[in-house]
């Protein structure tokens, strides 16, 4: 490797790097050598034959090539030999591909011209090329256009005229925000006669909050974002706060180098903020296994490899993953260097099996505004209350004493005469007076506890105590450590043998109750699957509840009390360790929180607790005005809590002591070889080594202006988003096997400009969509098709089928159903029943798809819950990936299954109904209604022939539904939204018109 590096940076012979050159080494020669020769004469040292390498000029000219003399070159002799023993590549059809005549001729020409080598074009730092002189005024405005025009000239192809305004605004809107324009937006643009009308639209769209959603959409594929863990059981995870971060970053036009830096190494930045740490979730989005049998290190290794593969593909356009098992066959990346790159990502304190940590709870940046508002309201209310308290001269210490006195409640311990489990569990009394259950653990159980009180009994208390013998050291015997106290009964008997009679209980008070399981349910006389529970599966803490007797039991020598602790929830939801005590004084009803707060000594109270105590006291003892303020404060505080309540997101962090990294033989986790240090591949310029070689150093290297790849790869991917194909068609591979750019100078010009602009993504997009190249009509003639079928010369505007998300979003938008909120947790729109369960119905490891209702059915598709093993089916039909791994380019197919989605998926049938309703409501005549439909769905006005066909259809459908009302009802009742009043046949006919619009090729095409 050392040799190679020296060769590249000392003896480069620059050959023109151009789309027009006669013979270009990078474009014409290297691919031949790579495809046909490198397997034995390339970078992979292990496979190299005869010590010959053709990727390296110094070695090649020693034996195989005589520069300037093709006929004297052994290379030419061997590849054009007739002798089967001599010919290269050797004639083994299963392994080698023979050279074609034209390829041999190219090699001949190249050697005759001196056999110039050049470093692979994408490994050389881009320079801003000179712009060609352009004669036509239309093509002089934008640098993009001048470079594209030059290619047109070279190919002798004439460019299309500019597209009409309606076509243009639809294209622009779909490209910048992923949604079609409204009728008003299109009309405004058509009417706007000012010079900067077009630019005004661009600026409006770039400023839209939907802009960030649309850009994030592409990023989610690259980041293999999903809402489940993948692999086998594919249960849920919550990473959506990171998705919010991405939307926010795009919307605030975060410079792409910063966007990169924060996602790769935000945690390592000096004084890293919460949101910088949140950004690193990018490299925790990979699948994580929970399959019981796996070996931890095996999967931990896979996660690190995933990060290497993803990072190198997304930012560098390199297939570094190829070097996992052996030296790269084509690119200058050795297996050793692969593991040096691996070392950067190998420092996360994580596990292979159930490797969900590290995690951090960080609020969504999109909720900043709401949070600030709620916070302000809380503070304001606190100030008002303080003023009120001062003005009224409240003696706070008095209130506190009152509360403290009320909180003083003495509980007397009890010693049981008898304690037993009716379900057969073993109950043993502990030193602290508690009873610990062990042994048999039946599904349901009743504990009976008898004792003779030494005094008057006013209330009885049960404490549920944690114990190490339960799951996670919790309080319950259930597999999740929770319990449900179905019923708590107190009985009394007057003498030793006397029958026990039930005592009525008046109140139940608990220090904590689980949502849906309030303690009152433990004395409601109802048994079964309800009662008092305490979130014991997540909160492993001691809990207690007390129960007040309707009439106190007076003590006498013979009185016996019996407690029945009834557990009927099932699944062993029993309290595992409990203690019974009683009180002989009336209990004072004091809010639980206040009771807890006053028991904390003043000097130990936190600031929050002090505020809470003030509020609780004012609520308990203050006047009506104070009570009202506290009520408002409570709701503001609750709102603040809800906008702050977010799931913990899996993020990156570094081990305090670095983990050693080894070359893994054949890529196997259990076959470590030589130890290596983190470093970047030698073929690339390095950064100064004065910083520790960690992810931050890597991120700095990736975003350095000296990095030849990052800007090119990024610009190219954005170009691909707009034009369907990147200038480099293989947008995930800029290596020597990747495609040569269609417009090398343009790619470099944009890459340099992008870096010099401060990595300004919005500016880049604006520059692209401002160009004449972009604004051309996308119509195509048979001649153009024959000469340039895939529009590589850009002599026409982009025309492509929309991506899955944009198709669904368009349908929801034109039917005016779209719910426009930005950010938040994933949602569950319409979904065919049973899809999840048919591939996984294992209890505890699977779940049923629970469809949302209301607005969540109509949110943008990037919020749709993404299950990797069952990706959203109507999007999968339109080539959406599973998201099990990084994808930077989707395929774009055209299948009958897509027709079924648009025709019959309830989402589309319902949208069609609403689109039909819009048309119907808009105008009085059918003709105007149809015209309105064209404007709403396609942003254009129809031709007469089109209107005629729609009107004919309308007449046919009216007949059909009049004669068959049931069909009308069947059509109109698809979807959750309510059906408009009125004539059913009429409504159904318009719904069908809506369906036709949504199924037109034009509707799902950006043209």
């Amino acid at each position: 490797m050392f040799l190679l590096r020296a060769a590249i940076f000392s003896t480069i012979v620059f050959w023109s790097y151009s789309a027009f050159a006669e013979v270009d080494y990078g474009r014409d020669i290297r691919p031949i050598l790579a495809n046909h020769c490198y397997a034995c004469h390339g970078p992979d040292a292990a496979q190299r034959k005869a010590d010959l390498r053709l990727d390296h000029r110094d070695v090649a000219v020693e034996s195989a090539i005589v520069p300037g003399a093709a006929e004297k070159s052994l290379l030419i002799e061997r590849i054009s030999s007739d002798d089967p023993d001599k010919i290269m590549p050797p004639p083994d059809a299963s392994k080698n591909k023979p050279l074609r005549k034209e390829q041999i001729e190219l090699l001949r020409q190249w050697i005759d011209a001196g056999a110039p080598f050049a470093d692979h074009w994408s490994f050389v730092v881009p320079k801003r090329p000179a712009l060609p002189q352009v004669k036509e005024p239309r093509w002089t405005q934008q640098p993009i256009d001048r470079l594209v025009w030059a290619r047109h000239q070279h190919e002798r192809i004439s460019a299309n005229a500019a597209a009409g305004r309606r076509t243009l605004i639809r294209r622009l809107s779909l490209d910048l925000i992923g949604l079609p324009p409204s009728i008003e937006e299109a009309d405004d643009f058509v009417k706007d006669k000012s010079d900067d009308a077009y630019e005004t639209v661009i600026d409006r769209l770039l400023a839209s909050t939907h802009y960030g959603e649309h850009r994030a959409r592409f990023w989610l594929d690259a980041a293999r974002y999903a809402d489940t863990n993948g692999y086998q059981y594919d249960l849920e995870r919550e990473q959506w706060v990171w998705r919010d971060w991405v939307i926010h970053a795009f919307n605030s036009n975060m410079p792409f180098d910063q966007f990169t830096m924060e996602q790769l190494a935000g945690d390592l930045l000096p004084n890293a903020t919460d949101h910088q740490r949140l950004a690193t979730a990018f490299n925790r989005n990979h699948p994580i296994t929970i399959e019981g049998g796996v070996i931890d290190e095996e999967y931990r290794t896979e996660y690190v490899i995933d990060r290497v593969v993803t990072t190198s593909k997304v930012w560098l356009g390199l297939t570094i993953g190829c070097a996992r098992c052996h030296d790269h066959k084509y690119d200058p990346i050795s297996q050793r260097e692969f593991y040096q790159f691996f070392a950067y990502f190998n420092q996360v304190p994580e596990q292979g099996l159930r490797g969900f940590n590290p995690k951090l709870k960080i609020a969504s940046p999109l909720q900043n505004k709401q949070r600030t508002a709620a916070k302000a309201s809380v503070v304001q209310l606190e100030k008002r209350l303080e003023r009120l308290l001062n003005d009224t001269g409240v003696n706070f210490a008095d209130w506190e004493d009152r509360a403290r006195a009320a909180a003083k409640q003495t509980w007397h311990s009890t010693t049981p005469e008898d304690v037993r489990s009716l379900g057969g569990a073993t109950l043993i009394r502990q030193e602290d007076g508690s009873i610990l259950a062990s042994g048999k653990n039946p599904a349901t159980d009743v504990y009976e506890y008898e004792w003779m009180p030494a005094g008057r009994v006013v209330a009885v208390r049960i404490e549920a105590l944690t114990d190490a013998s339960f799951v996670g050291g919790g309080t319950g015997r259930a597999p999740n450590a929770n319990f449900v106290l179905s019923e708590f009964e107190v009985l009394s008997a007057d003498n030793k043998n006397g029958p026990f009679k039930k005592i009525e209980l008046s109140t139940a008070v608990a220090d904590y109750s689980q949502n849906g399981y309030p303690v009152e349910q433990a004395i409601d006389g109802k048994f079964g699957r309800q009662g008092w529970a305490v979130d014991g599966n997540t909160k492993r803490e001691n809990r207690s509840a007390y129960f007040v007797l309707k009439a106190p039991v007076e003590v006498s020598a013979a009185v016996r009390l019996k407690i029945r602790v009834v557990h009927e929830w099932g699944g062993s939801h029993q309290i595992g360790r409990f203690r019974i005590s009683y009180s002989d004084k009336p209990t004072v009803s004091l809010p639980t929180r206040l009771r807890q707060l006053v028991s904390v000594p003043t000097e130990q109270r936190s600031g929050t607790e002090t505020v809470q105590l003030t509020m609780a006291l004012a609520k308990a003892y203050g006047n009506d005005k104070m009570k009202a303020l506290v009520t408002d404060w409570n709701s503001s505080a609750a709102l603040l809590e809800s906008v702050t309540a977010v799931p913990a997101t899996m993020v990156m962090s570094e081990l305090p002591k670095p983990r050693k990294t080894h070359v893994l033989h054949r890529g196997q986790y259990d076959q470590p070889g030589e130890e290596v240090e983190a470093d970047i591949p030698q073929a690339f310029p390095t950064l100064p080594q004065d910083t520790p070689q960690n992810r931050l150093a890597l991120a700095r290297w990736i975003t350095s202006v000296k990095n030849p790849l990052t800007a090119r790869v990024t610009v190219n991917r954005i170009w691909q988003q707009i034009f369907g194909i990147g200038m480099v068609e293989t947008s995930g591979d800029f290596g020597t096997q990747g495609a040569f750019p269609s417009h090398p100078e343009l790619l470099d010009w944009l890459a340099v400009d992008f870096m010099e602009s401060g990595w300004d993504v919005k500016a880049l997009l604006k520059q692209i969509v401002l160009s004449q190249t972009y604004r051309q009509s996308s119509s195509v003639t048979p001649e153009q098709l024959a000469r340039d079928p895939t529009n590589r010369w850009l002599a026409r505007g982009p025309r492509l089928r929309l991506d899955a998300e944009a198709i669904r979003d368009s349908a929801i938008a034109v039917s005016a159903l779209l719910q426009r909120d930005v950010g938040g947790p994933s949602v569950f729109p319409y979904h065919p029943s049973g899809l999840w369960q048919e591939i996984n119905n294992r209890p505890g490891y699977s779940r049923v798809y629970k469809q949302d209702t209301g607005g969540k059915l109509y949110r943008r598709s990037l919020y749709t819950f993404w299950k990797r093993t069952v990706p959203p089916p109507s999007m999968a039909a339109f080539d959406a990936p599973e998201r099990e791994y990084c994808v930077v380019r989707r395929s774009r197919t055209n299948t009958p299954l897509q027709a079924f989605v648009l025709l019959n998926d309830p989402q589309y049938v319902e949208a069609a109904r609403h689109l039909g309703e819009r048309m119907f409501q808009h105008a009085k005549t059918d003709r105007e209604r149809v015209i309105y439909g064209f404007q709403a769905a396609l942003a254009r006005r129809p031709q007469e022939s089109e209107i005629k066909l729609f009107l004919e259809t309308l007449a046919e459908r009216r007949d059909q539904y009049r004669n068959n009302e049931q069909q009308a009802i069947d059509l109109l009742s698809v979807g959750e939204s309510s059906v408009a009043e009125g004539n059913l046949a009429e409504r159904a006919a318009w719904a069908t018109i809506g369906r036709i619009f949504l199924n037109l090729s034009e509707f799902i095409t950006k043209g």
Partner: protein, 499 residues
């Protein structure tokens, strides 16, 4: 702009025969014309165009769509997910009778990695098969009493007893079996075949997936990647034919409109699309019109396909009463036969629930009973109809199970075992009534693995070979590399099992 999939799906050789059948229908309307146009255009495509349009991996100068004449034209793959125990199904090991209860010696285990399930186990006592074996047919193949119906096809099947794999847990192992790679990201076998051979049918997909209903609560899940096309264009991914809801997702019109009404809707769409094409010249619109025409046809062909009421009673005698219950293995095997009759290239059936880490003697018989009659009936049915000759059927799990017990007592289980297991193949050029390879006395290692072992890649190479492909040359260029199903190392089709 690329006339992608439909063309791909339709250009293939098999279509030529089918086209006659296809034109037998009365064609009317723009949609039909578009579809016909596409077919005609496709057949004139030259080799280079095919290759660049994701056609099969032609070597220059190689005539025809396959590398050599195919013995099989289509495949039905009966995947036994969870992994059946070879010891209790197809690998008759009387030697274990003597070893029963003995500890597995280290000399046999040879450091084999254990799964997390038994790595804490201190003792590894051998358990002989809990079930009897008997010989069947002229070939006298030994088959266990768990699969009595298989006795009837003993002379049709070749049992490969020397299968081995590289993975020891379900997710990586089944992913490896189906995609040639343990981690997600590679196209599955069915996608490769769809890519290589295209479809013989103009109204059904080339690659269909059928999921048997699952009865075992502990069964291992499946994942979309197992029938996914990864970097191959996504029209090559498997299309699920479901036994609940719409057989193909969103197939049914919610309005239950009449055929005529639907036809009018499709025609109107085609006319409007046609007008647009005249305006903008985009050939993709023509492809879309054709795709809708195919969709229209599928709306008729799929209900016809799944409606088994026209089958004679003898069919149900053969497949068993289960075959009338949609989603059972028998019903899906019957459906598979009906699919291949209609030109589908690759039918993938999954049966789950073989993963018995506990009480294998109690649970294995239940799963075996679910599949036995259907699997065996499929072979007999294909044979009767003359389809077995060029239809390859494969039956097997993702690995085997250990000869030693997991847990103890009578309700023991068997853990995952990658080192040896059995599968069977039939039809499509396979030498029936034979077996290949053998395991050692402990049913733990393969005897002469170097020469007689069948690696997963070898099996896939064999399947491709029978279909006319050199597995080393059926490749797809992605990210600068020519990817293939069977990886980069040396593997070979097992010619010894080919008739």
């Amino acid at each position: 702009m690329r006339e992608t999939d439909l063309k791909d799906a339709l250009i293939e050789e098999g279509l030529r025969a089918n086209r006659r059948h296809f034109f037998g229908h009365s064609l009317r309307g723009i949609g039909a014309i578009a579809l016909t146009g596409l077919l005609n255009k496709a057949s004139s495509a030259d080799e280079r165009t095919l290759a660049s349009n994701n056609g099969p991996g032609f070597a220059p100068g190689q005539p025809g769509p396959t590398h050599f004449p195919a013995k099989a034209k289509r495949v039905i793959y009966l995947c036994q997910s969870g992994a059946p125990s070879q010891i209790d199904t197809f690998d008759y090991k009387p030697s274990l009778d003597k070893l029963d209860g003995q500890e597995l010696p280290d000399s046999i285990r040879q450091g084999q990695r254990l799964t997390g399930m038994t790595s804490g186990q201190k003792s590894f006592p051998i358990a002989k098969s809990f079930v009897k074996f008997r010989q069947y047919g002229k070939s006298g193949q030994w088959i266990s009493d768990l699969l009595p119906h298989h006795g009837k096809i003993a002379d049709d099947i070749c049992i490969v007893k020397s299968m081995y794999t590289e993975a020891i847990n379900h997710d990586p192992a089944i992913t490896f079996f189906q995609t040639g790679h343990q981690q997600p990201g590679r196209p599955c076998l069915g996608s490769w075949i769809s890519y290589g051979l295209g479809s013989e049918s103009a109204d059904l997909p080339a690659f269909v997936v059928l999921l048997d209903k699952n009865s075992d609560k502990q069964a291992q899940p499946l994942y979309a990647r197992l029938w996914g096309s990864a970097f191959l264009p996504s029209n090559h991914q498997g299309v699920k034919l479901r036994s609940i809801g719409d057989p193909v997702l969103y197939l049914k019109d919610p309005t239950k409109a009449s055929v005529e009404d639907r036809r009018r809707l499709f025609d109107r769409l085609a006319e409007l699309n046609q007008i647009r094409q005249a305006q903008v010249g985009d050939p993709e619109i023509q492809t879309r019109i054709a795709a809708y025409e195919m969709a229209y046809r599928m709306q008729m062909s799929v209900p016809d396909l799944t409606d088994v009421s026209s089958e004679p009673e003898s069919t149900f005698d053969l497949y068993g009463a289960d075959a009338k219950q949609p989603g059972t293995h028998a019903a899906n095997c019957l459906l598979a036969r009906r699919l291949v009759e209609r030109g589908v290239r690759f039918v993938q059936i999954y049966h789950r629930g073989w993963d018995h880490h506990g009480n294998l003697p109690g649970r294995h018989p239940l799963i075996a009973k679910e599949v036995d009659q259907g699997s065996a009936a499929l072979i007999q049915d294909l044979r009767q109809r003359g389809l077995l000759e060029d239809t390859l059927v494969v039956w097997g799990g993702e690995f085997g199970r250990t000869a030693y017990k997991q847990g103890g007592g009578d309700k023991y289980g068997r853990d995952h075992h990658p080192r040896c297991f059995s599968i069977w193949l039939a039809g499509g050029g396979i030498r029936g009534g034979s077996s290949y390879g053998q395991t050692d006395d402990w049913c733990y290692n393969i005897v002469d693995r170097e020469t007689h072992g069948v690696h997963v890649h070898d099996l896939n190479a064999t399947i491709l070979h029978l279909l006319g492909f050199d597995h080393r040359r059926l490749s797809y260029r992605f990210q600068g590399l020519d990817y293939r199903l069977t990886g980069v190392e040396e593997h070979r089709p097992v010619k010894e099992i080919i008739a």
